[in-house]
Symmetry: C2
Subunit: 141 residues, 2 copies
């Protein structure tokens, strides 16, 4: 008889992507596409976030290259911190439930993020990390 030693019920089901703010997504993509030979999944513009998103498929997780295309949070980050790592995005089955489960507040509510996913950024930055949450719902890529 197999006796489970732990009932695991994680709030998140995995990491969707790691987000990097870059000055020029085309230039940044060359390392992933030419050197690592990884494919580009999607190249899209989120006008509401004033950002272009280029998605690199690293196999088990995506790399999101975020290029500012106008004034906003992304341009501000680039200005003050320079290019580099920006956030980690975890996947949950249902955002509203996850926010309740971890008693978390969002920076500016739930929005339609990249790849058509419902998304939010957590106001709390655990150990300095900007955390994004994506909903693993139907409709998105």
């Amino acid at each position: 008889m197999i006796v489970p030693t732990e009932i695991r019920a994680s709030v998140v089901t995995g990491v969707d992507h790691v987000g990097l703010v870059v000055r020029d997504a085309d230039a940044a993509a060359t390392f992933y596409v030419r050197d690592l030979r990884l494919p580009v999944l999607l190249d899209e513009v989120l006008h509401e976030r004033a950002a272009r998103l280029v998605w690199i498929d690293a196999g088990n997780v995506l790399v999101q290259l975020v290029q500012p295309i106008g004034p906003g949070a992304v341009a501000d980050f680039l200005e003050t911190r320079g290019e580099g790592l920006h956030h980690v995005c975890f996947v949950v089955p249902w955002i509203d439930h996850a926010l309740t489960a971890i008693d978390a507040d969002t920076i500016d509510g739930i929005f339609l993020g990249g790849r058509g996913r419902r998304a939010c950024f957590l106001r709390n930055r655990p150990a300095g990390l900007l955390v994004e949450i994506y909903e693993d719902g139907a409709g998105g890529l």
Copy 2:
């Protein structure tokens, strides 16, 4: 008949972990363990790197909490940049071959990293990203 449109032969097989520099790994781990209900895979000390590594299993990828335990690169990062995202680690079958394939130089050679893996950091920082490479060889966890 299925005709492949692309022969894919990536240099990397996936992302092993995302590394975060933290002041106190126990305090930082509470978000992952208590809130997200993710398990700790390993808690280890790398004396040569003057760092304690706490590994969180996020399912498809690991989160590595890096706490300085003495003077060195990790303590320097914490001092100058503060807590937060530090690097992304990709997996390759064989480091020596990967370094040749992407024509990359390492920061301080190949060393025995966390979980007993052969590892190196790339000197080149593509779009500001510090890239680590782990070898998916036998022996390591």
